[in-house]
Symmetry: C2
């Protein structure tokens, strides 16, 4: 058995994680055919949808058939089905209470929340899968893992907790508390892992600075991030890595795809591994979900549960953009394909400004490489004389704000540097406005970066 530098075995499930990809594809196809038969026979939601589209499970005999012939499902369809078949939809499967282990919900900011139910079998299997992925990120029984995700209606923190518990880490499930307290607890308890969103890890950099805490001297060695894009974008990841002196491990897909840690970072330089023998992941044409695209090209991600019996997602259109590569086993010896920069952003979040397509996460990745910029920024969009105008309003770091307080020229230099880098990377000129630290609301969970005045609701009729 191979061991790591702490004397633990290298893999949670060596045979599975280092399997020959062709052999794995055979197993994946087997599970796909099983799942298609199951959902068509047992789950009315799928039966109706497939019948309406003229699709039958027997149309699939290869993975290519799967991509080109199986219609996708969308969040909108799930919401509509749950409204008709409350509370879990007609795609729920074992949805009597005795079969359900766990119920969670989405925030439902735009109306009713979506509800997730996980059967006992799926829940137990997910614990093992979450342990496999946390292990791939380097979590070991000797770690103390402080979790900064909320434990609530939302699914977020629960998956991380489940995996770390299964591994046997000392779990310290703190949730959302004042940032100063989080840092004090890391110091006092000696936490070796911290888990939260990438934007929160960035926010803590500024908080530590104000408290005169050197994050690099904290015992934290690994940051398990997720819940939003960014953790695999080099510009963002490098800033966090540097400030914390800790490796940044991106993970997670969407609540629908529980066990959602199947997107997981072992070696940050290589991006996110796709544990595709648990959740089969495709990247397809963003305008046609049945059109495959070549490896390396950007497209829309589509996920499939290979094992879930409760609310299984078969070709779920997540609305996220990414690109996938496979170029042999990664440095850790795992044979999974990967997303070199993780999830790039939500297709819906893409801003179209004067004809250019811009993701907020791309703006952020550039800003992270600009000297003097703090954790918080916003992308402010307005319409002026029928033209869309975008301004990036970025906070300075405490240090940069101090050192340029009486040196307007130096400050202007920082501003120009940021504008120059944005223009070079995004091929569009975006004005930058600098803000004092603390001007914008601090990020404590998922970041909200875009203020779009174009979509502000018109005044109601009098």
């Amino acid at each position: 058995m191979q061991t790591d530098d702490r004397g633990y075995r290298r893999y949670w499930d060596e045979e599975r994680e280092t399997r020959d990809p062709r052999e794995r594809e055979r197993l994946i196809l087997e599970r796909i055919r099983h799942q298609l038969d199951y959902v068509y026979a047992e789950l009315p939601f799928y039966k109706r949808h497939y019948d309406a589209q003229g699709f039958k499970p027997e149309h699939v005999s290869t993975l290519e058939d799967f991509t080109t012939k199986v219609p996708v499902i969308t969040k909108k369809m799930l919401v509509a089905d749950q409204a008709e078949h409350p509370p879990y939809g007609s795609y729920a499967g074992a949805a009597d209470a005795a079969g359900i282990a766990r119920i969670q919900g989405s925030s439902g900011t735009s109306g009713k929340p979506t509800f997730y139910c996980v059967s006992r079998t799926d829940w137990d299997r997910s614990a093992d899968l979450a342990a496999l992925t946390m292990w791939a990120m380097g979590a070991r029984p000797s770690d103390i893992a402080q979790i900064g995700f909320p434990f609530s209606l939302f699914f977020g923190g629960w998956g991380v907790l489940q995996g770390l518990e299964k591994i046997g880490c000392a779990v310290f499930p703190v949730g959302i508390i004042p940032s100063e307290r989080h840092l004090e607890l890391m110091q006092h308890i000696g936490s070796t892992i911290f888990s939260g969103t990438p934007s929160y890890c960035q926010h803590l950099i500024g908080v530590a600075e104000q408290m005169n805490i050197d994050l690099r001297k904290l015992p934290v060695q690994r940051l398990i991030v997720g819940g939003e894009p960014g953790g695999s974008l080099p510009g963002i990841r490098d800033v966090i890595t540097e400030a914390w002196g800790a490796s940044v491990h991106d993970s997670g897909s969407t609540s629908e795809m529980y066990p959602f840690t199947t997107n997981v970072t072992a070696n940050p330089e290589e991006g996110v591994l796709l544990i595709n023998d648990e959740v089969f992941t495709e990247v397809v044409d963003r305008d046609d979900a049945n059109t495959p695209i070549p490896l390396g090209e950007r497209g829309a991600v589509v996920y499939t549960h290979l094992w879930r019996e409760s609310q299984p997602m078969i070709r779920f259109w997540a609305g996220d953009e990414t690109y996938m590569v496979y170029d042999g086993p990664t440095s850790c010896g795992r044979t999974y394909p990967r997303l070199p920069e993780g999830i790039l952003g939500r297709l819906d979040d893409m801003l179209i400004i004067r004809g250019a397509n811009i993701y907020p996460s791309a703006v952020e990745a550039v800003l992270r490489e600009c000297p003097g910029m703090g954790a918080e920024f916003e992308i402010f969009i307005d319409r002026k004389d029928a033209l869309d105008e975008m301004v990036v309003r970025a906070e300075l770091t405490e240090a940069a704000a101090r050192s340029t307080a009486s040196n307007a020229e130096e400050r202007e230099g920082l501003r120009r540097e940021a504008e120059g880098r944005l223009a070079r990377n995004l091929q569009i000129r975006i004005p930058v406005e600098l803000l004092e630290p603390g001007t914008l609301p601090p990020t404590v969970f998922k970041a909200r970066r875009v203020v779009d005045q174009r979509t502000a609701a018109p005044a109601p009729p009098a």
Copy 2:
């Protein structure tokens, strides 16, 4: 095997729960001697304390020896020891990260929090014990359990979660959200169990009234309450039972005593059972912890972990008052002693007003039986001409406020009724002031009932 009315077995562990009390006492004594030897040999905190008091484990050969000879430990001693031996104190035992399964903390409102660490062995054992107690309260795999305790640094919600998960309920761990949402979720998901503090369950009665929701028509059949006294005081329990049409199951001791659900209600009429083969519980003289008192008399509660290896509490003085009885097996067939009214209150919370000893929970129990009184009230204490004055300021229910809005006489009747009942029950005249509903801040977690102007901090010297 005996089954209950839903076809499940009656007990989680029949042999243990129905054991002959004398046989159980023999086992308890065996464990006590084991624990005394262990803590004296392995945990410096106990060694120092026992040496200073001239106590040696071999002094104990009967349960009476245990009560009369073993010095108690207090919260203050634990806090001091943790300050000297951070983070878990010299009473922690297996406190390296690889041995710890779980870390939690107290709020530490008055300074540094206390930290709790639970070893893997203790954690796994606690899951089984929590399942035993949740089963005694009637939780079954077919239940949908909505949890309204927070999941955070504090230990509160985690014990309930662990027990319900082990049983195999459908767990819906929602935490603290707006009260209207909690009620909507119960309705939508069909939750059959709700868990929260008794004061929060009372608060929800008023919220439901405002929303025109009849709690009795909700699917909730059991309320698992704890975290504060009250759930076993008939006045409080009956109001909640009546309004919800659900049985009220008090449970829980203190964070130090994890697995803290060893105080548990099977049949609400009989009060709280003490699972004393897990946590041995004594009620002793409030002025001398080594003086036993007769069954049925009020005194101070002292707890002992019979199984914990990590941070075991041996004769922990919880600072709570109660009385214990044993009069044969309870109606459920269990052979444990019980606290007929649960924990009555904290010894420290006892108010001394003009010589009378008054617990806030006693005031509350009386108010719950007074017509027209809503969920929220406060006990306002001030010093007037060197005399302590207590006023109870109680909100009316929505209905009572409406129906007496233009009938001052009727409202005065309600006020007098409350004053009369308080005087009869507490042997002291306490003026009552009525408030409109919504005047006081709503209780969403533990209730804060006492506003003591006598203890307000004096202005700092200039």
